[in-house]
Symmetry: C2
Subunit: 195 residues, 2 copies
DNA sequence: TCAAAATATGACCAATCGGTCATATTTTGA
DNA sequence: TCAAAATATGACCGATTGGTCATATTTTGA
């Protein structure tokens, strides 16, 4: 990696948690100069403008989340354990795997009326998450440990909606009691489909 | 209502959809002067500052949503029909009952790290929504139309998490296919508890 | 009716916004 | 090694931000 590429990556890493916490609109380029200790002009050597930097930060945050989830999932062997690991990675929104909370949630709500590019990125991330869940269940069915009549595609949508909803509710409440209820019931729903 | 009170209310009504769509940080006082055709100084006669106006707009949006939901719910007689009406009011996030989408979602995600006042308001709204659902089910159990062993408090939490999650996912996707799946399954879960 | 109180106006303020650019420094590879 | 290319600096730009205030207009109730 050249010096320039290193600096570019460094800027993304430092700015990603700021964008995810404050939001794109509320994050100023001066926040980034402060966090990176780089001059303004240097930022603009690596990024055409704030929008491009923000888009990179969105990608970075979502990739980081995906990596953490997949690392936990891949540690497990059975489909059931993988699903549980997926859920457990996201079960504490007050200590989230990515600083600032779920980037799909944060950027999705900010962008849905205003930023087509970010909106598309978030949508793809949602689809990927569902595909991951669906893929695990497919494996479980093939291995004979899960109910082959399970409508797992619909379940993948529901499980993720519940988690996302639980995240907002718990973050706003300042405690994870609602998320605990949700996680418990998701696991119950999974268990009911085990053979 | 005095002239001043009327103007104050007028400002809130005009600014509420803007705050709910663009977000608090991204909404400028100049957006409000444009929408109301009032001078800047006049805005500051009625609101101490932008933060206070935004808080009023948050209240207004959430109250408006609550009113619409309750109006639909109160048209129904049985507990089952009331629950279905509750869900049906929120089932199309692309044509939401409140301009800009669910205010709890929008303001909740923007405020959770940055605005304690708004955070508290949203949290109360979430609790109210759950209490409404729980209250309907209590009525159903008392009337003998719903399973008395139903853990309806947990269900109230789950139903709302699913809806909120479905809203983000559908808004970002630009279509309501995921929300349709969620609504269908929520209704199925309700039906399973009918006697 | 009419004067006092409330409300509306818009020019104006300092601070901050995203972004530029001439210049200086550092990195790069032939 | 060394010159060309890439990168870093920070003063500077016009636009916009939230907010103020002297002044003008409208509303209010005795």
């Amino acid at each position: 990696m050249t010096k320039g590429e290193e600096t570019k990556q460094f800027i993304i890493e430092r700015s990603a948690p700021i964008f995810n916490t404050k939001g794109i609109a509320a994050t100023a380029m001066s926040d980034i100069t402060e966090a990176t200790q780089l001059s303004k002009g240097s930022l603009y050597v690596h990024f055409e403008n704030k929008e491009v930097l923000a888009a990179s930060a969105v990608d970075y945050n979502m990739q980081l989340l995906s990596n953490k989830v997949m690392a936990a999932v891949n540690k497990q062997k059975t489909a059931k354990d993988k699903l549980f690991a997926f859920v457990d990675t996201l079960k504490d929104p007050l200590s989230p795997p990515v600083t600032g909370g779920c980037p799909m949630m944060n950027f999705g709500t900010e962008a849905d009326d205003t930023n087509q590019l970010v909106k598309t990125k978030v949508n793809q991330a949602f689809d990927n998450a569902e595909l991951t869940i669906a893929g695990i269940i497919q494996q479980g069915i093939k291995e004979g440990s899960m109910n082959p009549d399970w409508n797992y595609k619909e379940f993948a949508t529901m499980i993720f909606a519940m988690i996302e909803g639980g995240i907002v509710m718990s973050r706003v409440a300042g405690n994870i009691s609602k998320m605990n209820i949700i996680v418990k019931n998701i696991k119950k729903m999974i268990t009911e489909q085990l053979i």
